[in-house]
């Protein structure tokens, strides 16, 4: 019993006798003897629920607990409203699967349609897919999408984009005949260098990728100029976006984006040590482009009584129909995370998002000013920042600083050079979210100040 209702000798006997075999092993008679194990592989004794819970408690108890998280680098510790957890844990959503049978899956289908619709408004784009895995794979898919649509092979990306995402991009296009080209950023402002971009653009450019805000949290002011330059050469402008900034920052669809990708974790999702997250993929609609979109799409239709209803559409793009000709191999996606985003956006609405953006902007500015007042830390660029803030240490090692903070219950900055050697060791990316008030930021600053004497 337990998890397996028919695990009971009498039930097994009844079933075996109906099948007409004498034991379960007979049901494995088609497995060659040489590979049939005599005993199952060892993975440990089974634990009952309460004992599992104790084990988990004991594993976690020895690890320092975080009260305040200031770590940036692509995702940050945003607040998840209680109603989001409440709704996604309803079993009808949580334990269901891909809505292949639309008649009994209208609830999920409509919720995904609403996700696609809400996200389209937030981004000011026309078409949003049901979700991809994360921002990295969304960027990888965007590159392959751009190459299919334009039949070109030059992929240009801004060097101030998130290095995790860029490294996934390079894996995704690695089997293709592709030119991957980077454009540097201005040392003073941290923003993309338009002159360098212009020099790299040519008639074979499939796309240009710009993040806004970029890896340094900087708002890219010349995004519209970038769009014009790309479009002049007939390439696609792909924007990587932090959706939670869009309550206050202009949406990419309004400054010329053809494709928008991004990380939707901030919209009602947890950090989860990096996953699951939500890969956003959106386009401006043209018939040709829609047919090239990767992943699931939910569309509106009617049932035979004329009731408005929803189902998966354009499935002939997908792997289960088109096999090796599909636009992507994706099947399982990040649906529950998209549902989180739908609930979150419905709850906050225009005012909630605007106010949240305002709070994050104010916190970021307060953090920036406070850092600038410290004698041994500085912000290396003169620009406008949202949530993430680059901080250079002029003395203490970030490793020491972060460890010190950790034992005070504070998660410090992400030091990109620990993974990506092109960054200086003195640089860390901090982030502040709506979870923080002045007291929290002051606590961080007081701890940093201690390293300056």
């Amino acid at each position: 019993m337990g998890l397996i209702p028919n695990d009971d000798p009498e039930t097994i006997r009844i079933m075996l006798s109906y099948i007409g075999v004498k034991d379960i092993k007979e049901l494995y008679s088609d497995v060659p003897n040489e590979i049939l194990l005599s005993n199952p592989p060892e993975i440990g004794s089974p634990l009952k629920e309460a004992d599992l819970s104790s084990l988990f408690e004991s594993i976690t108890s020895s690890v320092p607990e975080i009260r305040l998280s200031f770590t940036g680098g692509g995702i940050a510790d945003h607040y998840v409203p209680a109603i989001v957890d409440e709704i996604v844990s309803k079993q009808e959503f949580y334990t269901s699967y891909t809505p292949y049978q639309p008649e009994i899956s209208q609830g999920l289908l409509q919720a995904i349609f609403e996700y696609q619709s809400l996200m389209a408004e937030l981004l000011d784009m026309d078409v949003v897919n049901a979700s991809l895995y994360d921002s990295g794979s969304a960027l990888g898919e965007a590159a392959r999408f751009s190459m299919r649509v334009t039949k070109r092979k030059r992929i240009i990306y801004a060097k101030n984009a998130n290095p995790e995402r860029l490294s996934v991009l390079s894996t995704y296009v690695s089997p293709l005949d592709v030119e991957l080209v980077s454009v540097p950023y201005d040392e003073e402002t941290g923003r993309i260098s338009l002159a360098s971009l212009e020099a790299q653009l040519n008639e074979d450019t499939a796309m240009v990728y710009l993040e806004n805000p970029n890896f340094f949290g900087i708002i890219e002011e010349e995004a519209e100029e970038v769009a014009d330059l790309v479009h002049e050469k007939g390439g696609l402008f792909v924007v990587g976006v932090e959706p939670i900034s869009l309550g206050v920052i202009r949406p990419p669809g309004d400054y010329g984006a053809d494709v928008v990708v991004g990380e939707g974790q901030s919209l009602g999702g947890y950090l989860n040590f990096g996953g699951p997250s939500l890969g956003i993929f959106a386009i401006k609609s043209t018939r040709k482009m829609i047919r090239q979109v990767p992943g699931r799409l939910i569309g509106m239709t009617k049932d035979l009584e004329g009731t408005r209803s929803y189902m998966m559409v354009l499935q002939s793009r997908e792997q289960h129909i088109r096999q090796e000709e599909a636009t992507s191999n994706i099947t399982t996606n990040s649906q529950l995370m998209a549902l989180r985003a739908a609930i979150y956006l419905s709850l906050l609405g225009p005012d909630g998002l605007r106010d949240l953006g305002r709070k994050i902007l104010l916190n970021t500015e307060y953090l920036r000013r406070s850092i600038e007042e410290l004698p041994c830390f500085k912000v290396p660029f003169k620009s406008k920042f949202f949530r993430d803030l680059p901080v250079v240490s002029e003395g203490p090692s970030w490793k020491e600083v972060n460890l010190h903070l950790l034992y005070k219950g504070i998660a410090g900055g992400f030091v990109p050079s620990t993974i990506y050697k092109e960054f200086p060791e003195s640089l860390a990316i901090l982030a502040t979210t709506e979870r923080h008030c002045k007291r929290d930021i002051d606590e961080l600053i007081d701890n940093l100040r201690g390293f300056c004497s």
Binding site: L3, N6, I19, S29, I35, P41, G44, I59, T71, K90, Q91, F93, S96, P99, E103, Q106, L108, Q110, F113, D134, T171, A223, I249, Y270, L271, F273, G274, P276, I290, R296, G299, D303, L304, E305, G306, T307, R308, S309, M311, V313, Q319, E324, N329, T331, T332, S346, G349, P350, D351, G352, D355, L356, K359, L361, N363, A411, F414, C437, K438, I441
Partner: protein, 509 residues
Amino acid sequence: MKFRQATWRKSNEVLEPTVFELGVLGRGGTKIAEPDPDIISIVGETDELIPENMKRKEINLPGMAEPQVARHFSRLAQMNYGVDSGSYWLGSCTMKYNPKAAMRIASSDRVRRLHPFIPTEAAQHILRIMYELQEMLSSITGLPHYTLQPAAGAQGEFVGALIIRAKHLDEGERQRDEMIIPVSAHGSNFASAAMAGFRVIKVPTSSEGTIDIDALRAVVGERTAGIMITNPNTLGIFESDILEISDLIHSAGGLIYYDGANLNAILGWVRLSDMGVDVAHLNMHKTFAAPHGGGGPGAGAVGVTEDLKDFLPVPLIKKSGNKFYFDYNVPKTIGKIRTFYGNSEVLIKSWAYLKMIGTEGLRKVSSIAVLNANYARRKLVDYGYKVAYGKERPCKHEFVLTLEDLKEYGVRALDVAKALIDRGLHPPTIYFPLIVKEAFMMEPTESDSLEEIDEYVKAMKEIRELAMEDSEALKRAPKNSSVRRLDETLANRKPILTWRMYIKLKASR
């Protein structure tokens, strides 16, 4: 079983309205955090904090109050069907019960509020869990090295195909550009191989329902990079010639990729390494009981042999003494396949599941899943249903019927599926695998009780009788779900994918 799905109907044309109809467009909503007045008094307002040309003007989202959001999504949930609702025999998806204890653990703040870039000193608990999961998967499959990075099975396939490609390139075998895939394989296999730059070579299925060895022999050669194999295959049949197949591929210099979608059938009975497998992905959301979340997130661990470990994605999770750490020093790595380290929150659920079932549970899971499938198949055959392939041999965790004989009554697999809905049962996977006409792919899993299986097959029996007596009644199904059959042509002719597309279309009419 009598079943009537909840139906929240606003009008003849509309069920539950969308949030765009429920809320006030462009204003209102619920604030979840207030700026700190002490910060405002120092910093001032936000006017100066965004460049003028980058300010957002309007936000065309609906504004709603919390109670209405709660009611809206609760009503939508009631118009959906999950594993906890009832039998969910969706073949190849292993819709087993998801233990709640695993979900509670994964929703601990100690897990979900952990930033991926936290110093590893503060992530020892989660790293230990991921490391232990890798070890258990190694023990189960015999493959010594694992990455937990792929976000789903298909991404695992892509990783596996990239590893195979990298291995051949590393050995200077540039000509190995062909991936062999049986025609019965999951569609994602073909797509993943193509994404990794391979030419796809399809091999047919024999009358037994297994790979046609002669046809395989004919296509294997010096261009063979490998084979992607599912065992038991999508017909629910164990590829008994697996050792011959792996010898054939290996002696030609190719590698064996194993699609783990059907691992639930052989858990604890067969190790992948003993079948000659070089690379495999395992689906945490299928075999290892993580919930499917309406379509995701899942997790697709990839295991490899000693020979292939240098090609795994970075970082690897390793242990030194009592400390767990990330190893980025993998010189021949294929790179990163997703940001960070994988769907950790999903992986924890599978760790918890394996801890709960333990060594002795492995074989219980597979044995009962296979017992249930064989019992159901036998009953259905006794009721007159036809098994597509391999009816003389036991099936594994699933089986595929062909409903072609019902066509003479004007009834298709789709009609039978819709009639199951009216009886409160989730239909099986239909029209897959593509090689079976009017395919009905059924997987009861180990989670259904004998009574539930009897209920399901009884419903199938009644539907078959109805098909022969009054096929029109089946054409009218479903009628107990929140909507009736949908207009698929309308949905695809001019797709309406967002509310703004709908509004635009309405305005143009």
